[in-house]
């Protein structure tokens, strides 16, 4: 590669959005389609195809492309977006670590250069194993929390499917790889190695090799702590979290099934209170119903009424009845009423006029209606009344 390392780093920095899009595509699909590459370059308005090839960022894969492993891992690391490894992929380290350890033990008294190289190889394998576990745990934590917070609002069936998927294919197998109580787990194998290395770092006769054993021992102690921490996250956080999603979904399934036929489905027992109370259980409803019937729904308008006149003048029926009797015979009752009021009050108040009208219905008053004559006009204080001519006779004698 001709380009300077700094140039490549600058290039990645300047075109970060474009390369990030390419990384995300490869994460999803496993490679970068030619059409998608062109589309991304066009969208980001960046003519960088040649540099992507020159800096060995992309590798041709038939008609399509692939981000080279070293760049892909770099992006996984800086974006903290790891593709989870299947536990069986992680398990392969058990074999490689086991086989290197076996060779170290067998060749402990043989060529020291090879021994040191094997120690370094073992160191690298353990580091790769530890990295893979950490990446998987990180990814599983993210996935599980997303599932728990449910920002995408996926329905419960999908949620429980995903939860089961993560439990069955990743969390439980990874947990068994790390389970220190399991005799075949890698953690136990590493523990066994560290015991052996611990002895060798102290008693091996060659100093350089002792130093290598010392380095490996310290690293194994640290790795052991890391793995214990990862295992704790899985056991204490992820499993309960994801188990809870399963429980939650089970309960929801139960309710949905129950709500299909809520009045036919069986129900849990609830204690029936036998206590006698001095009032009925339906007291509230009965009282409510009782009061509701008095709730007036009709619109009521209150107006200011001038009460002064009413208070001042009370119709004295007896007085006017006597006056009428004394005036008999009367040719026109209404005319008489008008004159009487006018004589007393100088005006004919409508209310007073109507009050006097009630005299017509008194006992001993004999009416004669002259239907042929015209109606008379009586002007009261508030209105003009056209009234018929009613004759009042004296005891039946005109």
């Amino acid at each position: 590669m001709k380009a300077e390392p700094k140039t490549i780093i600058n290039f990645l920095s300047n075109h970060f959005e474009t390369v990030k899009d390419l990384f995300e595509t490869q994460t999803k699909e496993g490679f970068v389609r030619k059409e998608f590459l062109n589309e991304i370059l066009k969208e980001n308005d960046s003519d960088i195809f040649n540099q992507l090839i020159e800096y060995k960022f992309l590798k041709k894969l038939g008609d399509d492309y692939e981000i080279r492993g070293v760049y892909f891992k770099f992006f996984e690391f800086i974006l903290n977006e790891f593709k989870p490894l299947l536990p069986e992929t992680i398990e392969k380290y058990e074999q490689s670590i086991g086989s290197l350890f076996k060779k170290i033990r067998e060749g402990i008294a043989k060529d020291r250069n090879i021994l040191v190289q094997r120690i370094n190889e073992l160191y690298n394998e353990v580091r790769e194993f530890s990295d893979s576990v950490e990446k998987n745990t990180l990814r599983l934590v993210t996935e599980t929390r997303e599932l728990k917070s449910n920002v995408d609002k996926i329905d419960y069936k999908e949620k429980v499917r995903k939860a089961s998927f993560w439990i069955d294919y990743y969390i439980t197998p990874l947990n068994s790889i790390l389970d220190v109580t399991h005799p075949q787990s890698i953690t136990n194998r590493l523990f066994e190695i560290s015991q052996y290395v611990n002895v060798r770092r102290l008693n091996f006769d060659d100093e350089n090799t002792r130093i290598q054993f010392e380095k490996l021992y310290n690293f194994l102690v640290q790795t052991n702590d890391d793995l214990m921490r990862q295992s704790k996250i899985l056991t204490n956080e992820l499993l309960p979290l994801i188990e809870r999603i399963r429980t939650e979904s089970l309960i929801l399934t139960g309710w949905i099934e129950f709500l299909k036929q809520p009045y036919k489905a069986p129900i849990p027992k609830v204690f029936k209170v036998f206590r006698e109370v001095p009032y009925s259980n339906d007291m509230y409803w009965n009282a409510k119903e009782y009061f509701e019937q008095f709730e007036g729904n009709d619109e009521v308008i209150l107006e200011d009424v001038q009460l002064e006149d009413f208070e001042k003048w009370i119709f004295n029926k007896e007085l006017y009845h006597n006056k009428l009797i004394q005036s008999l015979p009367v040719n026109s009752f209404f005319e008489w009423a008008g004159k009487t009021l006018k004589g007393e009050y100088k005006s004919i108040e409508t209310d007073k006029f109507f009050s006097l009208t009630t005299l017509l219905f008194e006992e001993g008053i004999n009416l004669e209606l002259d239907s042929k004559s015209d109606r008379q006009l009586i002007k009261t204080s508030q209105m003009n009344l056209r009234v018929p001519k009613i004759k009042i006779t004296k005891h039946g004698i005109s």
Partner: protein
């Protein structure tokens, strides 16, 4: 004869259909004297004391079918609506505080509106308030104020029921027994 501390309150509460909660000093007394209370309720009334890790209650052969069904419908609807709202309903019911306004909004806009309208306890805001008060009397909810409440651990009785219902653990025999009891 010496009786456990709070004896009268324990018996009164349980006979009133209340759940005695672990947060209540009566619970410890009941738990410590569980053998006494088992025989006391069995011999006196033929009732069974159900002691769980965080609450206790009594059961008789006769069950309050209507209340139980209403509570189940209420929890079923609430869990469904909370889940639809993207919430972890189990956590919400365990830890969150509920407002009656929020409850109204869930129930009034529910897809189960027909079921709600045909249920006398749940059909409108006013009736739901009475229903919530009823749950309060049984210690299934704890009221913070007139408009706010939270669920007590007693809600687990109904959540367990739903989980068992889903698992199909309620066999046809169980169903028959329950139905006969309710007649």
């Amino acid at each position: 004869m010496e009786f456990p501390r709070y004896h009268k309150e324990i018996v009164t509460d349980l006979l009133d259909g209340k759940f005695i909660l672990a947060s209540d000093p009566k619970f410890v007394e009941l738990k410590n004297s569980i053998e006494f209370y088992n025989s006391f309720f069995k011999e006196s009334f033929d009732f069974d004391v159900e002691l769980k890790s965080d609450f206790a209650y009594i059961l008789s052969a006769e069950t309050n079918e209507q209340l139980s069904r209403d509570i189940c419908i209420f929890f079923g609807l609430l869990c469904y609506e909370l889940d639809k709202d993207g919430k972890n309903f189990l956590e919400e019911i365990q830890y969150a505080e509920f407002e009656t306004d929020m409850l109204d909004s869930y129930f009034d806009n529910s897809a189960y509106i027909d079921l709600i309208q045909n249920n006398n306890q749940l059909k409108n805001s006013e009736n739901r308030k009475q229903f919530i008060n009823n749950l309060g009397r049984r210690n299934i909810i704890e009221k913070t104020n007139d408009k706010k409440f939270s669920f007590t651990p007693a809600h687990k009785v109904f959540m367990d029921f739903a989980a068992n219902f889903a698992k199909g653990k309620l066999t046809s025999t169980d169903v028959e027994v329950e139905t006969n009891e309710n007649k």
